[in-house]
Amino acid sequence: MERDGFLELRGVASRYGSTQVLSDIDLSIAKGEFVALLGSSGCGKTTLLRLLAGFISPSSGEVKVRHRDVTHLPPDKRGMALVFQSYALWPHMTVAQNIGYGLKLKGVARAEIASRVSAMQAMLGLEGLEARKPQALSGGQRQRVALGRALAIDPEILLLDEPLSNLDARIRLSVRHELRALQKRLGITAIHVTHDREEAMVMADRIVILNAGRIAQHGSPEEVYNRPASAFVAAFMGAENVLSLNGHPDGDAFMLQAGPANEATTVQLAGRHLLPGAVEARFRPEAAHLFAKEEFLPRRPGVAFRGEVLAVAYPGGHWRHVVRLGDREIMADAPQAFSPGMRVAVHVPAESLFLFNSPTS
């Protein structure tokens, strides 16, 4: 990840009192890139964003924009604009005053402000609302005003702090695409904080997954989805089914020993590095295939498990089964229902089975 960064973070760490919130953050972001900072609550993603914005200083490390050190510059000298989770619109100002405030602070002439504000309103579909106060706007309109206020000052970098989390589920889906399209059209560099995996996948060029204040993995959406670097990332990206297996590497393959629910078999390492011993196998419910008899198993690389259906439900589109494999229970999807009590074979294709050395080994 040593590309020539437009925005660069080197060894950034932050403490809050005696709590280490962020540590060893190294990140390089190219101009025009859309990066999602993804993580569960408390992982430090908002702290990282506020640190970029200049509201908090890192306890060590540096932040650079175009090779210029901005680590200790005030928020407005960084060429970054932040869209807040609560939108933080000023309730006593109209839409036009909210959008134009940044320009007013820069001493732009009144006529110029008016024309920039109306251009911004036109771009965001806020025409005719200039005299409204924020209380008189819908959630989606408020969100666009907040975006307009940030974009009005023509920032090089747009920071987004969960800007979609206060929107209705249906509006959120369309705003994702609008926001992404707008970012591409303006060619602006965007850093988007979210805890919503799907939102990050749909919007971002690159996803940075944070765990306990450290970068767990970063890469394109397909990379982090299909090649998770750790058990945490795999679980966070939806591979919630977990089985304990034993095995050892053998050339390009990994030999899995027979367990309570599976025969001995091999899977290709495909560049992964695994040590002999206990491994944690993770896969997504939708990656598993269910078969009534073992004879029906497909002849493609993967691991087959024997199990018993415990429960079945229909969440829409497919049937979701709870299957007991040995002493573990997993979820598996199938296009047709298998009734509880049935013996089934579960097949997980090799490319969808994520193996990691267990922490104890």
Partner: protein, 273 residues
């Protein structure tokens, strides 16, 4: 029916206290303002305006200046408590600023009398520091003394309300302004104060009404004319037993206080619509 009766019975004592101890005396004194020697007339008001027009103006000016200064001071204190970046200074200010609230007006008068007089502590310190020659020392025990006393005593109360309101506004609205490049002073004036406007107005109106009714401070600090209406009322009653003019002066005070309350009501109605 019996439930309604029970309700009325329960409210009655409180209602009676308000009616007999508050509303009735108020009406009596208002009626008394129009009574001269047993007959109704404007005589008391005529006398009042002849004798005390200057004092009415003096009172309005003094209290208005004090209210403005209290507003500025409490915004400054609340603003520093909200936006201050030096945690120790903020903690000290937070601890310190409330003290005058717990000191009675009469004690404030006493303290400032010894502090502000011609050879009081303020002038002594200035002279010892070489900032002032003894010949130039003047007493502040006049209208300035009253303003100082009022501001000193009432600022903590308004600051308490304002600081509380400032603490409860969305912090992100402050961060958003700083993100766009607003200095802390601009954040205070353009972002924070407009959001606590109602609280500030309520605090200032309550303060205004309190100051209208303070007797001890003008008596202690400003023993000369013109003086404030409260001192005049006390003087009419105590020295002349002239309840008629005293009632007329009281009615004027009430009008002044309620006009301020009316401004507030109008502003809050406008905000709601």
């Amino acid at each position: 029916m019996s439930r309604r009766l029970l309700g009325l019975t329960l409210v009655f004592p409180a209602l009676a206290v308000i009616a007999f101890l508050f509303i009735l005396p108020l009406i009596m004194s208002a009626v008394g303002a129009f009574q001269v020697d047993g007959a109704f007339g404007w005589g008391n008001f005529q006398k009042m305006f002849d004798l005390y027009t200057k004092d009415i103006v003096f009172t309005v000016v003094i209290i208005s200046i004090s209210t403005v200064l209290i507003g500025i001071a409490s915004i400054a204190i609340g603003g520093y408590l909200t936006l201050g970046e030096h945690p120790v200074a903020v903690a000290i200010l937070r601890w310190l600023y409330r003290w005058p609230m717990f000191i009675p007006f009469i004690v404030v008068g006493q303290i400032l009398r010894t502090f502000l007089s011609k050879n009081g502590m303020m002038n002594n310190v200035a002279i010892n520091l070489g900032l002032l020659t003894p010949i130039d020392a003047v007493s502040f025990l006049d209208w300035r003394g009253i303003v100082i006393a009022f501001v000193w005593k009432q600022t903590p109360f308004v600051a308490l309300l304002v600081a509380g309101a400032m603490a409860s506004i969305n912090r992100e609205t402050i961060d958003a302004a700083r993100n766009l490049g607003a200095s802390r002073l601009r954040v205070l004036i353009e972002i924070v104060v407009p959001q606590v406007g109602t609280t500030l107005t309520v605090g200032l109106i309550l303060s205004f009404v309190t100051m209208m009714s303070v007797l001890s401070v003008p008596l202690m600090i400003n023993a000369q004319t013109p003086t404030m209406l409260t001192a005049d009322i006390a003087f009419r009653v105590n020295s002349y037993g002239d309840y008629g003019v005293a009632n007329a002066l009281g009615l004027i005070s009430l009008l002044l206080a309620s006009s301020v309350a009316w401004i507030y009501l109008r502003a809050s109605l406008k905000e709601r619509s």
